[in-house]
Amino acid sequence: MAKARKKTKASGTKKPSRRPKTDGNLLLVATRKGAWLYRGNAARNTWRADGPHFLGQIINHLVLDPRDGKTLLAAASTGHLGPTIFRSTDLGKSWQESPRPPAFKKQEGGRSVKHTFWLTPAHANEPGVWYAGTSPQGLFRSEDGGVTWNEFSGLNDDPQYRAWMGTEQDGTPDGPKLHSIIIDPRDPQHLYFAMSGGGVHETRDGGAHWKPLIDGMEVVGGFDPKTVTFHDPHCVRLCPSNPDRLYQQNHCGIYRLDRPATRWARIGKSMPAKIGDVGFPMVVHPRNDETAWVLPMDGQTVWPRTAINGEPAIYGTSNGGKAWKRLDQGLPKAQAWWTVKRQAFAADRGSPVGLYFGTTSGELWASRSEGKSWACIARHLPEIYAVETADIG
């Protein structure tokens, strides 16, 4: 299935005198019309485009397995064809299609997967195990490196969870989604996931039992926050340096949760009032649990989902959300009406941390200074759905 793969220099970068040395920095960019890999040099200031892969196919997520450093999974569909998973074990040189991608069981009134939305490699001690979240909401697991997939844990047919998932009419225009599948690095049996809509959920026994984790989260005015289905978490992240700390960008604010507590605190209230705390993505620092970043968007009236006033900016906190700082050096100062989807903002593990986001207008932006300044490293791509980082050095 691998189609034409081209390697070109990323637009917007200084022309190198010779082919730049790549030192293991990799950006995985999934778009509405295919996927690209960007390979960066050690300084992270020169990026070489490798793509398109799967030109014309909708790629919702492209993820590298950090446990082997070479297996890529791509969640694909097209406007007409059903969803599938493509797998590469040579960093995208060749691709094989999953013979059994995520699919619900056949039954009376059964659902069908419209697309796989989210991919998460499982615990470091479970090589070859992956989790997938779908639209409509479903949770799947592969135990053979993404070759074959099965429904996971009975959740997809649990009557209470089906009620909380709601119908497709209750979801986003592109379909309700299960996302933000998180594995506690200390315990492979301890998982979280989120649903838009349908709240945040947790298991401590490998999926035998799940429970909602919505206390403190707000919902749209006039609705009861005790009703799980009304909750719309957009993106949940666990701090690698402190697995007891979670951050969340929600339809209704930015939150933090410090376990074992079960009540989220709305840290977005300390954002500037004229900006608010609506957005899709959230990113956490790999080594400092006090530091996180968001990218606010316009959530007024009909939800334009654009940069506020056409002036995009990252907001970062270095004290767990007590205060936020605007980080927009290098970003457009006016008339930039794009936004960034929930999977399209990522951090690397460099020092200082590199931040990367892809826009709905097909621009790829990077910061080598933890957000202090930004440079566009690619433009004219299709609408970007997801950006992930990887270190293959």
Partner: protein
Amino acid sequence: MSASVKVLIASPLRSYTGADEVQACGDSLAALLADLDSRYPGIRFRMVDEQEEIRKHMRIFINGDPVKDLSHRIRPDDEVCIVQALSGGSARI
């Protein structure tokens, strides 16, 4: 043993078959699609979902007539055409 019939393949599925026209066997549409999947793994699920429904934007014609029932009988001289709804066209585009 059912006869082999001609199957015209929509352009988005030619990455599986490598051709715009292939042969497949089956005495029903379901059997024919299963045969296609055995020859070109993965192709069926991209046309038919897990609830055995032809996907929303895929269409299958047999001798020019639209068919949605997977139990539809296939006869030796039938011609099966798999297309995507309201799009497609020349491979040169």
